[in-house]
Amino acid sequence: VRTRSEAGAAPVTAVGDFAGVYERHFPEIHRYIAGRLGRDAADDIAADTFVIALRNRDGFDASRGTVRAWLYGIATNLVARQQRAERRRYRALARVGVRDVADGPEERVVSWVAAEGLQPRIAAALARLSREERDVLLLVALADFSHEEISQALGIPYGTVGSRLNRARKKIRTTLGQEGQIDE
């Protein structure tokens, strides 16, 4: 089984290679954008991400990070242009009721969040984060990125990733009023 990091390390040297990059990464990039902006917006912006990547593929430098991090960086920049839409999405999530869930580990989390009535507060807290904090936090939460990968994707120092992430998580916990009760 190909791991994420192996797939992400593939070089982009030709359009032919790029087709493979697209097939490997489009679904997860789409999912990341959909998490931040919703599925409708993700249809366009995910495609834009790859069009931009294709046009700028000569600028990709494998020594500075993986293809995966590069793509997430482009996607995050595109999402950043939609800050108002993103905030609207979080406010909407804060208002709507519990999403339908089925059995499954992730769904159990949803149930737990819903049961505790935390969903509106999480959404509201996300809306209040700065863009920089949200970028870092959501690359961890939605893309399972390491500090190193976030540093590559956003082009910011490793230490900055850590400080932004700590700040973001602290704000979320404070909003939830659950500091000290959350498992690490």
């Binding site: 790029f18 069009v51 969903q119």
Partner: protein
């Protein structure tokens, strides 16, 4: 349980559909976000005063695709083996047609289009479309039925388009029965490339291309727009299954607004006689989705017969202008 898990649970979305992934591929192939503009087929059903649905109109427009701006051509992807296969198939079809002097008859049924019959012989062709025999009120948007027409029209001819003889010359003809009008025009340019998105869209409806099978099969296999995917028995005849690659397009703003959808995907599968390579059956479908109307698929099945070229059968391959119809002056079908 930590806040990252909660965020993931709150924001997690399902993976993108195959159609969305395919559209992304198309955009990359086109080199950028250039939406395909689908022109409305002349005299689409939306124009009917009886209030037929816009959804039906788009289905027809997508299915026929005549007069539309050329969609970005599919990138050539065929292998040498596919090209050889295509050449082989082409030869077989040419031999079959040349040796037997046959008239093509394709009959299709569809909840969206109703029934259609296509007759073709040489460069002559006659596509006839009928109102559905039953009222398919199966889709409601904003409380409005999208498939609604007077019951007295059921099963009656709706339109005919193809070729007619005028002054001894073959011309393009278009007849609409609902307003008793027709138009004639010089034969137009050849249809779009068999490998284009436009052609794939046209295959999402009842068979229209009629006599272009040789070139069509040849081109689609050679460029990778279709591939041989198996062998199936149909009515005791062994057929070769040829499946076209699905094509997805973003609807032009006007269409999107009319049908409350954003995307359309067309699919087709052609079954050809494994011995003669003459078409036996075709499935075509067009799905619209991505908007508030809800995902909707219109599909049609066309069964093909090859009849002897008797005078009667050959005559059916020409559009007939009914007596008392008024001529509309303009390009055929441009109403």
């Amino acid at each position: 349980m930590n806040e990252l898990s909660m965020i993931r649970a709150l924001l997690d979305e399902a993976p993108p559909s195959e159609e969305v992934i395919a559209e992304g591929r198309r955009r990359i192939a086109a080199g950028g976000p250039a939406p395909v503009r689908l022109h409305r087929r002349p005299a689409v059903r939306a124009a009917v005063a009886s209030g037929i649905a816009a959804a039906a109109a788009i289905g027809v427009a997508l299915a026929v695709g005549l007069g539309g701006a050329a969609a970005p051509a599919r990138q050539a992807g065929g292998s040498a083996a596919q090209a050889r296969l295509a050449a082989y198939v082409t030869k077989r079809v040419e031999n079959a047609l040349a040796g037997q002097n046959l008239v093509f008859v394709g009959r299709s049924s569809s909840a969206l289009w109703g029934n259609t019959v296509t007759w073709a012989y040489g460069s002559r062709n006659n596509f006839e479309e009928f109102w559905p025999a039953t009222d398919h009120r199966d889709r409601v948007v904003n409380g409005k039925r999208l498939w609604d027409f007077p019951p007295q029209l059921r099963g009656l001819p709706y339109l005919a388009q193809g070729t007619a003889l005028a002054g001894g010359k073959l011309v393009s003809a278009y007849v609409t029965y609902f307003d008793r009008r027709y138009s004639l025009a010089p034969l137009g340019a050849q249809p779009s490339s068999a490998c284009s998105a436009n052609e794939a869209l046209s295959m999402g409806g009842p068979i229209i291309p009629a006599t272009r099978w040789t070139g069509f099969i040849d081109a689609t296999l050679a460029c990778g727009a279709a591939s041989v995917t198996g062998h199936v028995m149909i009515n005791g005849v062994e057929t070769t299954k040829i499946t076209g690659r699905p094509v997805t397009v973003r609807l032009s703003p006007g269409y999107a607004k009319a049908v409350h959808e954003r995307w359309a995907t067309a699919r087709w599968t052609l079954y050809v006689n494994s011995r003669t390579y003459l078409p036996v059956r075709m499935y075509g479908s067009t799905q619209t989705y991505g908007g508030s109307a809800g995902r909707y698929t219109s599909s049609s099945v066309t069964d093909v017969q090859w009849l002897p070229a008797t005078p009667v059968n050959v005559a059916r391959a020409l559009v007939t202008i009914p007596p008392g119809f008024h001529r509309f002056y303009g390009p055929a079908g441009d109403q």
